[in-house]
Amino acid sequence: MSCHTDSVKTRRVGEAQLTLALAGNANVGKSVIFNQLTGLHQHVGNWPGKTVKRAEGTLVYGGYTVDVVDLPGIYSLSTFSLEERVSREYIAVEHPDAIINVVDASALERNLFFTTQLLELEPHLIVALNQVDTAEKRGIRVDAARLSDLLGVPVVPTTATKNEGLQELMAEAVKMHEANREASRPLPFGPEIERIIRGVLEGAEGLDTPYPRRWVAIKLLGGDEEIEALAYSQAPSLRERVAEARARVEEIHGHDAASVIASERYAQASRVAAEATEQVKFRGSLWKRVEEATSHPILGYAVMIAVIVGMFYTIFTFGDYASRALGAAFDMLRAAFYSALGRGAVQDFVWNGLIEGVIAGTSIALPYIVPFFLVLSLLEDSGYLARVAFLMDSLMHRIGLHGKGFIPMMLGFGCNVPACLGCSIMETERERLICAFVSSLVPCAARSIVIMGLVATYLGFGWAVALYAIDFVLIFVLGRIAFKALPGETVGLIMEMPGYKRPTVKVTTQRTWFRLRDFVFEAFPIMVAGNLVIYAANAVGLLGLVQVALSPVTVWWLGLPAATGVVLIFGVLRKELTLILLASIMGTTNFALILTPAQMFVFAFVVMIYIPCIATIAVLAKEFGRRTAALISLTEVSLAVVLGGVVYRVLLLIGVG
């Protein structure tokens, strides 16, 4: 929502404006609070010039139109990841009316480490002490009033998943705003460090930065490259002063300044946590055991394989059933359409050019993508996906990614669009790119339909498995090449392993919807538009020419029927269309009559890798630029063509007609 519409709305209903930002670690329920507060009144974009998601929403509370910004889940305000950079710039530059720091009551110490850093930015801070129910179950009771005294900021206990405490949270935000309270104050470090910080501060008098001076001094001491560049360009003499201060810290503490500051902060966090935590009973050990068992080197893999196989089996069984039902429904719709409007060029245009595109999107989304994302969201909400990332880390390392990269790849089995968008969980641009590239090669639901419908049905399940296996090898090899070719340092895995939680219906459906939203808003329109363009091209006879032009590749090199040329062009829109179209052009759904076994295999192989679909290309272009998207597409086209011909000849050699 732009400022303009905001102010109009404000004037109309006589409301005042309030901007809140949610900040906190990952897995603390920050996004749950955001969704509970703003419901569907939110929009997701990117931070200017960054591949970091910016989620913003509005609600009306107590006479205010409240704008809520959901900052990324982070553990620190250094410049390690894009998220951290974006967050600190936002807090310092845009000065939201209040920052709501969402804190997990069951892991208070780690969460307060981030709180101490937020306090240093001197915002108007409110702590939402979340997941108090989970904490109580684990025998941890946090005294909110005591915590508030210790931190010097208001603390509101919440259980976001049950929508408890959120009213109070908003009331506190409004109260803070109306009382015109002073900004929060940082917690003091130990006396020696404080003295050293004051020393640096004296040299930083005239600095002009958006950040509080004390924070700048601490960051300089800790060696923050961005702040160093900012400060030393204004006051070059400061460099020497900081170097001296660092030497002093090392002399006193025996560790470098960065680690001393981290230790000091954790000491603050630990002290506050200890004082505010009332009692710690024996934590139920059953879940702890389950948690440990699912990342166990033997048992963990067994569980993981069972979960993934079970997941795919369920989804494809359900999908097969649902898509048949849906197909029958659309056939009836088509018959009704033509019987109501009669036949003719206009009717054909409306049906084939427009409605077909919508149907196609629906018939892939409902039976396959929705259940897929639902299951995946369940796994994520329960905390299981972190274990998968842990177990897959060493394999993912071979392609230069750490274990978290496996999560977008899993999304890719549903649809490549949310997969490429999901790559933003990786820390650096380089890793996001490698991750998106390999994700675009993951056989999505549409491609699986072709593989299952053609290869598994006519050649047997083993051949389909072989096809998947070839794809995985390709992903591995190409990922490795990309990893070696792209400059940069590999980032190691460091990730919190959240305790298992029971997923709630609301949170899981919301998460599923947000993933699906990527598909609906990013992929769907492009599919419909693309359908229209190709329909038009077909109508003016352009596709016939393309077919002839492509025939050296399709017929001579790949050994496929000439008609596949057009089919493959359509396949760029949505890959499952290749199968439907092939049937309609050849006039039969019995593919055994029109394709030899070798042709089936080669066809499915080419469809599987020959290009990311148009929606994926669009997302790649949006996230990484047009050049990169074009490069990825070209790589995959040439790869499919070259390898497709090789596969065909190998199949002939081994006697598969």
């Binding site: 390690f80 892991a107 680690s259 177990l391 060493s394 274990g403 460091i494």
Partner: protein
């Protein structure tokens, strides 16, 4: 530490670093002693909490054993480098020579040797990696300073990646300053923090550690940067479940 304990730890290290357990028979042959005396020594090492033994499968170093073995193997391999590079001795001769010298050389001299040989990474005869040093320094430029600060106090240090599931230690320092070490500390692994290894993924995978009441997955390359002090309060015996849970550290 007696010379023969060092010899055993060194021999077990040689197997463990390849991802194998050291079998009694192999140890007997390698150290040229009788199998019964190997059994006896393993019992002793196990009682001291330096190794765990699984009948019919073999012996594996604990974190504590690793911390000790690391020092002696490092001396051995540095000496090999010195004999080969510095004195020009043949590759086939350096091993036996180094075996005799390694017990006599001080930690101080080993560190000096490392400096003068330009911080070698591998040993000359079979190209094996020289175990990293445990001087409490962020990087090599602070080596000398750190050793002087330590004032000759020998702490039992090893990398977090060397601890086995169930074992615990206290973070001493993080090697290499820079963004990786800052991230590690941001996640709570600051000096003085107690950390326990929960699980270790196979194939050089990450370790799961319990720190500050939360569970953290840490990539192997990051866990190798974190040096922990083996807790002295711990008796020689490992936690009964810990020892059994993962006797095999797979490669």
């Amino acid at each position: 530490m007696s010379e023969s304990v060092e010899e055993y730890l060194e021999a077990i290290y040689a197997y463990n670093e390849r991802g194998e357990l050291a079998k009694n028979q192999d140890l007997a042959e390698r150290l040229r002693v009788s199998p019964p005396s190997v059994t006896q020594m393993i019992k002793k090492l196990s009682d001291e909490g330096l190794v765990t033994y699984e009948p019919y499968r073999g012996v594996m170093l604990t974190g504590r054993g690793m911390a000790r073995a690391q020092v002696i193997v490092r001396k051995h391999r540095l000496l090999e480098r010195f004999l080969h590079d510095g004195l020009g001795m043949g590759k086939e001769k350096v091993h036996d020579e180094a075996c005799r010298m390694e017990h006599a050389i001080s930690d101080e001299a080993a560190a000096a040797l490392c400096e003068s040989l330009n911080r070698p990474k591998t040993c000359p005869d079979d190209g094996k990696t020289i175990p990293s040093c445990t001087v409490a320094a962020g990087d090599c430029s602070r080596c000398k300073e750190a050793r002087e600060n330590a004032g000759g106090v020998r702490r039992l240090l090893t990398q977090l990646s060397h601890l086995r599931p169930g074992e615990a230690g206290v973070v001493a320092f993080v090697r290499e300053t820079g963004s990786a070490s800052r991230r590690i500390m941001d996640m709570g692994l600051t000096p003085g923090t107690r950390v326990r290894v929960v699980n270790a993924a196979p194939f050089q995978g990450p370790v799961e550690v319990s720190v500050r009441d939360t569970s953290l997955a840490l990539g192997r390359e990051l866990a190798e940067k974190v040096y922990v002090e083996i807790e002295n309060s711990e008796s020689g015996h490992l936690h009964p479940h810990g020892a059994r849970r993962l006797a095999v550290r797979q490669k």
